[in-house]
């Protein structure tokens, strides 16, 4: 029985991966179309001011916003309605002005919708996999590396989907589905372990709380990371010489033009990162409470504790940087990126290669 459920769980994970791959393709096609759409638009209309683009970008998509803010701006209204019409009332219109582009916009919304639909479907499959694993194990499905990976990546998608309800961040779909695919791929190939009972050291409510909240924090940091990266690229475009250099040039700015401006991206990244930070702070404290309960001391600079602390400090630095003259903008974005790199390092490297009390990776 247990073994059968465990098998079904694995099958569901593989199915979810296949569907995520489709979602990834959908989102990637959308990004590709954005580039070409902007290109043709540019040829028709010359390059529009980035501020205008950004303005529309921030007010469409959520559906509710256009009412008051746009009501008194005739030009913006035109653009917004045109885009909305092109999007066939789905509230898509990830904002560019100009009715000439409505064709591409229509196609775009198709691929985007495909991406979102596939992501939701894959999410449901993965949720099934995680739940089955939990039922089969008779405990929470996050007690070893494999289980952290499947639950954690599920949470990343969940956070992404929930945020989509409030903000149109579908342009991050490629990143999110790609990241989840990689995580699932690595964990099924390298970390897979059969279900085993919880060792006494992990038999605690704190396993349920501490690890879950840590995964949730990680999910928010992942989103924040993506937004901060987009912000940096966007910033290059905005400040760069015509034509730009490096990566921003490779993207030829076209795609970036369809995204919110860097200030907007920065604000979004900040809002998401502080949620992640709140969760992480709680993780750190819950971990200390658990350590006190299990080992008799709340803090002992065990390797895993050290890295949790390092991550916490980097993000505290990020929040400070946002409030420090000369550090707002790109510099603080770099801190968010470094912070997320540390999160990945903590998960992928510290868990496996570093020696410490937290040797529960199950490998």
């Amino acid at each position: 029985m247990t073994q059968a459920l465990e098998q079904y769980s694995v099958i569901l994970i593989y199915s979810a991966m296949a569907v995520y791959a489709l979602a990834f393709i959908g989102f990637a096609l959308d990004l590709a179309k954005r580039s070409s759409a902007v290109k043709s638009e540019n040829m028709a209309a010359g390059s529009g001011s980035s501020a205008g683009v950004a303005f529309v970008g921030q007010n469409t998509g959520s559906g509710r916003s256009s009412a008051t803010a746009l009501a008194e701006r005739p030009t913006a209204v035109d653009a917004a309605t045109a885009t909305a019409a092109a999007a066939k009332g789905t509230g898509v219109g990830t904002g560019r002005g100009g009715a000439s582009a409505s064709d591409e916009s229509g196609q775009r919304s198709m691929t985007l919708r495909l991406g979102v639909t596939m992501t939701v479907l894959a999410f449901v499959l993965q949720l099934g996999a995680v739940v089955l694993r939990g039922i089969a194990a008779g405990r929470v499905p996050w007690a070893n590396m494999y289980e952290f990976s499947i639950t954690g990546s599920l949470l990343i998608v969940a956070v992404f989907l929930v945020i989509l309800l409030r903000e149109d961040l579908r342009f991050l779909g490629t990143f999110i589905t790609g990241l989840v695919l990689v995580l699932l791929g690595i964990s099924t190939v390298n970390y897979y372990v059969a279900i085993s009972p919880l060792p006494p050291a992990l038999q605690s409510v704190w396993l349920v709380i501490h690890v879950f909240v840590a995964s949730l924090g990680t999910a928010f940091f992942a989103m924040g990371f993506a937004l901060s990266t987009a912000q940096l690229l966007q910033n290059r475009r905005e400040t760069g010489v015509e034509g730009g250099r490096g990566l921003a040039r490779f993207l030829n700015f076209r795609l970036l033009k369809t995204l919110p401006d860097s200030v907007r991206l920065e604000n979004l990244a900040y809002r998401i990162n502080i949620v992640g930070f709140a969760f992480w702070t709680f993780t750190l404290m819950a971990g200390a409470v658990w350590a006190e309960r299990a080992w008799g001391r709340y803090w002992g600079w065990d390797t895993k504790e050290v890295w949790t602390f390092i991550i916490w400090t980097i993000y505290a630095g990020y929040i400070h940087a946002r409030a420090t003259k000369g550090w707002r903008g790109s510099r603080s974005a770099w801190l968010a990126i470094i912070g997320f790199a540390a999160v990945l390092f903590n998960f992928g490297v510290v868990n496996i290669f570093f020696k410490g009390l937290h040797t529960y990776s199950g490998l």
Partner: protein, 593 residues
């Protein structure tokens, strides 16, 4: 000075009409130069003497940039402690590191890399950070306390550049309306706005000048309160850990079933007192390990033998009062002022050695250290006196013994199903008189001769419980009487943990308040027009991150309009004009840069 001079608030509109307290403070002339991004403004200031320099230094230290720099340094400085074993958490790892890296280890040691978190450099970073923190928090607390007692400042002269600026017109132009249809006075309109805002938790003040009446409202003081609680909580944690931690202690003790542990200094196998520890901190209690029970998986084949549960049943006495309880992993026992944790367990075979005439020279239950998941355990017996020469026994204990194809013994299950003890005998000097401290778990065989086992003529002595065997060279005999379980307990006394928890909760609460409660000001201004109408202006200003500012202004506008309309039926001709035709209105909805 409320916040550090280089603190960056939410972007404010370029226009002038920003009320005091919201602009990015340029710094007070004479006391501080423009610190901004240059940061060296003071160099061109008139010399201020020693006090001036100290003050300058203090300001530098309590600036945002310094705090940021120190935070990042702290993160960086914490890294090496995870790469190199630490004396505090992994002393054996350090010893091993010195063996493995003979040249590198002393160099690392001279940089205190084996005790990073108590090193001079790590400590200086966090101490500086906390001094900076205190320097930052004190003036802010003072300022905030003042702010809490001050009503919201005067409404800015021009609201048009502020967040979510919206206008509404109340009433009909005089040309189309007679005197009776005049809208309610602007004072009344503002009063209703004041009530609305007050009800929504804003602190309000009304202002009247030559051509307008206005209400100025502010909310979200809790944001700053939370921020201060957060930072003060951090100081609290540091102080309690740093000072209070010195009064605690932690000790380890291995207890075999049937043994009693008395909480005295001598009874510990190892003991780490805090700086201010005195013997009197040891509460008088005793713990007897009656029974240690381990449960292993026996059903699922794939996880066969994995531990499911450990439970130590103990009898305690505290102040003469006996008690029975259990100690489990994740479930410590509180006794006296201490907590007892179950951190490890294993087997302690009872071994008796007799001389050739049959006199017992040694008998004890010797804790063996587990070596693998199936509890193959390694232990040492040292017999110093009573035999013709000193004797050392290195023993392997297999709870469930089996033999590999090559004849090697292994344990296949952690419970004692088929226990076997295998002993290698060494004869010679135990080296106990050299004065070098030795571990009870290791045997220095440098000046000993191996008598049984590999590379000798005799096989290892293998015993099942109750069996005896003769020692080689007619030295005597050895008996494996039985095997008991042992539990290793950690005894901790930490008078600070309650306070640390208290401050941690304060930190968490402060953080949530400070991150998620928006602080903003809203204004409603009524301007009486020559034609008898009243133009109402609505605007807001965010302090800190406030995604909902514009929504708040919109919401206020709607609710206020509704409130006025509710009064209006008494005065049917008074209407609300939408401002979309108003040229000023064309500006509304513009976002702040």
């Amino acid at each position: 000075m409320s916040r550090p001079s280089d603190h960056f608030d939410s972007p404010t509109p370029a226009e002038t009409s920003i009320p005091a307290g919201f602009e990015n403070k340029p710094g007070k002339p004479g006391r501080r130069g423009k610190q901004g991004t240059g940061g060296d403004g003071d160099i061109t200031q008139p010399r201020l003497g020693l006090v001036g320099y100290l003050r300058w230094f203090w300001r530098q230290l309590s600036s945002m940039r310094t705090a940021l720099f120190l935070l990042l340094m702290l993160a960086l400085a914490a890294v090496p402690g995870s790469l190199v074993p630490q004396r505090s958490s992994d002393p054996n790892g350090v010893t091993q590191y010195f063996v493995d890296n003979k040249t590198l280890a002393p160099i690392l040691d001279s940089f205190q890399l084996f005790s990073v978190y108590t090193s001079i450099w790590f400590s200086s970073i966090y101490l500086l950070l906390f001094i900076s923190l205190i320097g930052c928090v004190i003036p802010r607390t003072k300022h905030h306390l003042d702010a809490l007692r001050t009503p919201p400042p005067k409404t800015p002269a021009r609201l048009a550049r502020l967040g979510g600026f919206t206008t509404r017109t109340v009433g009909e132009p005089a040309s189309t309306a007679d005197a009776a249809s005049r809208p309610a006075s602007s004072a009344a309109v503002i009063e209703s706005a004041r009530k609305l805002l007050k009800k929504s938790g804003y602190r309000v003040a009304t202002f009247t000048d030559a051509n307008s009446v206005s209400v100025s409202a502010e909310r979200g003081y809790a944001r700053e309160t939370g921020n201060l609680v957060f930072h003060i909580g951090l100081v609290g944690i540091l102080l309690t850990v740093g000072i209070g931690g010195g009064f605690g202690y932690a000790g380890q003790r291995v207890v075999v079933e049937g043994q009693t542990f008395v909480n005295t200094l001598l009874a510990y196998d190892s003991f780490n007192p805090g700086r201010f520890f005195t013997d009197s901190a040891l509460a008088p209690f005793t713990i007897k390990l009656d029974r240690f029970q381990a449960t292993y998986e026996t059903q699922a084949t794939r996880s066969f033998g994995m531990p499911l549960d450990y439970e130590a049943s103990v009898s305690t006495t505290e102040g003469g009062v006996p008690n029975a309880s259990t100690i489990k992993v994740n479930d410590p026992l509180s006794i006296g002022n201490s907590s007892i944790y179950l951190l490890g367990n294993g087997y302690a075979p009872t071994i008796t050695v007799k001389d050739p005439t049959g006199n017992v020279v040694f008998t004890d239950s010797v804790p063996f250290l587990p070596q693998d998941a199936n509890l193959t355990s390694l232990g040492v017996v040292k017999i110093t006196d009573g035999l013709a020469s000193q004797l050392g026994l290195i023993g392997f204990f297999y709870p469930t013994q089996d033999k590999t194809a090559s004849g090697m013994s292994i344990s296949t299950y952690p419970d004692a199903q088929y226990p076997v003890l295998s002993l290698n005998v060494y004869q010679g000097s135990l080296g106990l008189d050299t004065g070098i401290p030795t571990s009870v778990y290791s045997l220095n065989v440098d000046s000993m001769k191996k008598l049984t086992g590999i590379q000798t003529d005799l096989p290892s002595i293998e015993l099942k419980p109750g069996e005896s065997a003769q020692l080689p060279n007619g030295l005597g005999s050895v008996t494996f009487d039985n095997v008991k379980r042992f539990a290793s307990f950690d005894v901790h006394h930490d008078p600070t943990s309650g306070w640390v928890l208290f401050f941690a909760i304060a930190v968490m609460g402060g953080l949530l308040t400070s991150l998620f409660i928006p602080r903003r000001r809203l204004w409603v201004k009524a301007l009486e027009q020559d034609d008898g109408t009243i133009v109402l202006e609505y605007a807001g200003l965010a302090r800190g991150d406030d995604p909902k500012l514009e929504d708040a202004v919109t919401d206020l506008t709607t609710r206020h309009s509704a409130a006025i309309a509710a009064v209006a039926p008494a005065n049917p001709q008074a209407t609300l004009g939408d401002s979309s035709t108003n040229p000023v209105g064309a500006l509304s909805g513009t976002k702040n840069p």
